[in-house]
Symmetry: C2
DNA sequence: GATAGGGCTTCCCATCATGGGAAGGTCAAG
DNA sequence: CTTGACCTTCCCATGATGGGAAGCCCTATC
């Protein structure tokens, strides 16, 4: 089948399929006489695998590892679990970071009247930001 | 003060300060005879404001709005709250998305023995991915 | 006065994953 | 034979940031 069909069958856009080939995530496929890429059902399975991995937030690099493990019949499941575990930790770190933002923002937002007056604790917080990262010494006059 | 000093005082890298100027987030500053950018304490305050907004996850575009509101003494706090509220919603959406990933991954990971055997429910899940986005009809045998 | 080092300038490139679009070849249906 | 839907490659854009080169400027040291 051609790339468009493979795209529909896998849920991966044609653009991305070509890109994945370019960066070596998938192998270059055979080409027809007119230079069209040709895909098999197996190729579609690989593309679906990639799509599912992406939907779980794995990077293309991680996806490549998982793909290699999937195709290695002698893999140790520990290796897969390791990739997953690290990804979970990464997600949880990012979630915590964003939750911290939400907490602060909700507090500030709660304190903001949100009416026609200009006074706004949100802006006050942004404007405050007393010290840069971690260097005190407010020196100038 | 020169850009390096402003960078230290604000916690924003020199690279970023120049970039913010380039995209119009901050106004071009005066230059010294030798063409060095010159910053005042007010400029540093603006940079800190930006840094704080960024640390709360606001995009540069949102930051620009907030900056404009901050500098508009006749602003209505409702406008600020609106920006914040939308950002909170966006963060919560992304958090929920990632939490969904974590939930799935933890389940799969929990079911994976993580030893020397090749059997792995994580890979099985990735390989399954029965249907593309929303088109059924598994036709080819 | 010459030189070394550090700061400044601009300009280009890379990231990560994705989409948009142009220019041109190919094919099937009408 | 034309039309339209494919396909090809190539370039550009996103958002925010960093890296680095080439070259100018200033200061301190020899």
């Amino acid at each position: 089948m051609n790339i468009g069909e493979a795209s529909k069958a896998s849920g991966v856009s044609s653009k991305m399929i070509r890109y994945y080939e370019q960066i070596g995530l998938i192998h270059p496929t055979a080409r027809s006489d007119n230079n069209y890429r040709l895909y098999t059902q197996d190729d579609v399975h690989v593309l679906r695998f990639i799509r599912r991995a992406r939907s779980l937030g794995f990077s293309l690099e991680e996806t490549q590892k998982l793909l290699a493990l999937w195709q290695d019949k002698a893999r140790e499941s520990a290796a897969v679990k390791e990739v997953a575990t690290q990804h979970i930790a990464d997600l949880e770190r990012r979630i915590a970071e964003m939750q911290g933002m939400v907490k602060t923002l909700k507090h500030l937002s709660h304190c903001c009247s949100g009416d026609g007056r200009p006074d706004c604790p949100i802006l006050e917080d942004l404007a405050a930001s007393a010290a840069p990262p971690s260097s005190a010494t407010p020196s100038n006059h």
